[in-house]
C-alpha cells in the first residue's frame, strides 16, 4: 500500500486541481423555474406539470393585482420618496409581468385619498409578495424538495 507523501509540494503536485463549482442540471432547471415563476405567475409550476398550482397562482396574483389597480391603489415606481415607497416598489415588482398589467389598468393614476385606493395599494403589494412566495415554492419543488 502506498504511503502518503510527507512533502506538501509533492502531495500538491499529485492532487487534482480544485474543481469549479458548476451548477448541476437540476439546480439550473430550478433557477429557470424560479425566475419563470416570478416573470409570469404560475409558469414555474406549469413547467413542472403542477397544473392546479399553476392555475391557482396565476388567478390569485392576477385577481389581486387587477383588483388593486382597479381600486386605484398606488403602483409604486422607481422614483420613490422614502423607504416605504421603495419597499412598496419591491413588493409590486414581485408580481413580475403583472406589474405592467397593473400600470396599464391604472391609466388615471392612483387615488389614495379614499379608503378604496388604500386597500388597492395593499392588494397590489399582497399580489407581489404572494408571487415571490410561489416562485420560491416552484424553485424548491424543482430542486426536489418536498412541496
Amino acid at each position: 500500500m502506498e504511503e502518503p507523501s510527507q512533502n506538501p509540494a509533492i502531495e500538491h503536485a499529485h492532487s487534482a486541481p480544485p474543481a469549479k463549482e458548476v451548477p448541476s442540471p437540476s439546480e439550473s432547471r430550478a433557477l429557470v423555474c424560479g425566475i419563470a415563476a416570478w416573470l409570469l405567475p404560475g409558469l414555474g409550476h406549469a413547467l413542472q406539470r403542477m397544473w392546479g398550482r399553476a392555475l391557482v397562482v396565476f388567478l390569485a396574483v392576477g385577481l389581486l393585482a387587477g383588483a388593486g389597480a382597479s381600486m386605484k391603489g398606488n403602483v409604486f415606481t422607481r422614483q420613490g420618496n422614502d423607504a416605504f415607497d421603495t419597499l412598496g416598489y419591491i413588493a409590486d415588482l414581485g408580481t413580475g409581468s403583472f406589474y405592467f398589467f397593473a400600470r396599464a389598468i391604472e391609466t388615471k393614476g392612483a387615488d389614495v385619498s379614499h379608503a378604496d385606493g388604500d386597500y388597492g395599494t395593499r392588494l397590489l403589494a399582497t399580489a407581489g409578495v404572494l408571487n415571490l412566495l410561489a416562485a420560491l415554492h416552484a424553485y424548491e419543488a424543482a430542486r426536489g424538495h418536498k412541496a
Binding site: 391557482v56 390569485a60 389581486l64 381600486m71 391609466t107 378604496d116 395593499r122
Partner: protein
C-alpha cells in the same frame, strides 16, 4: 389603452377578497392531497376572518 372602471369595495369586502384568495393559494401551495387542501383552506379562512373581525372589535372602543 383601455380604461377599466374603478372597483369600489367596502372594507369588509376587500378583507374577504384578500382572505379567500390567500387561503386558496396557501392551501394549494402548502398541501398536496385535495382533502388536505380543502381542510387547510377552510381553516385558514376561518382564522383570517376570526382575527380580522376580532381586531375590528378590539379597536371599536377607540373609534369615537
Amino acid at each position: 389603452m383601455t380604461s377599466v372602471s374603478s372597483l369600489e369595495l367596502t372594507h369588509f369586502q376587500a378583507f374577504l377578497l384578500f382572505a379567500v384568495v390567500i387561503s386558496v393559494a396557501f392551501g394549494f401551495l402548502g398541501r398536496r392531497r385535495p382533502k388536505d387542501r380543502v381542510r387547510y383552506i377552510l381553516w385558514s379562512l376561518f382564522l383570517f376572518l376570526l382575527v380580522g373581525v376580532g381586531i375590528g372589535w378590539a379597536m371599536f372602543p377607540f373609534s369615537r
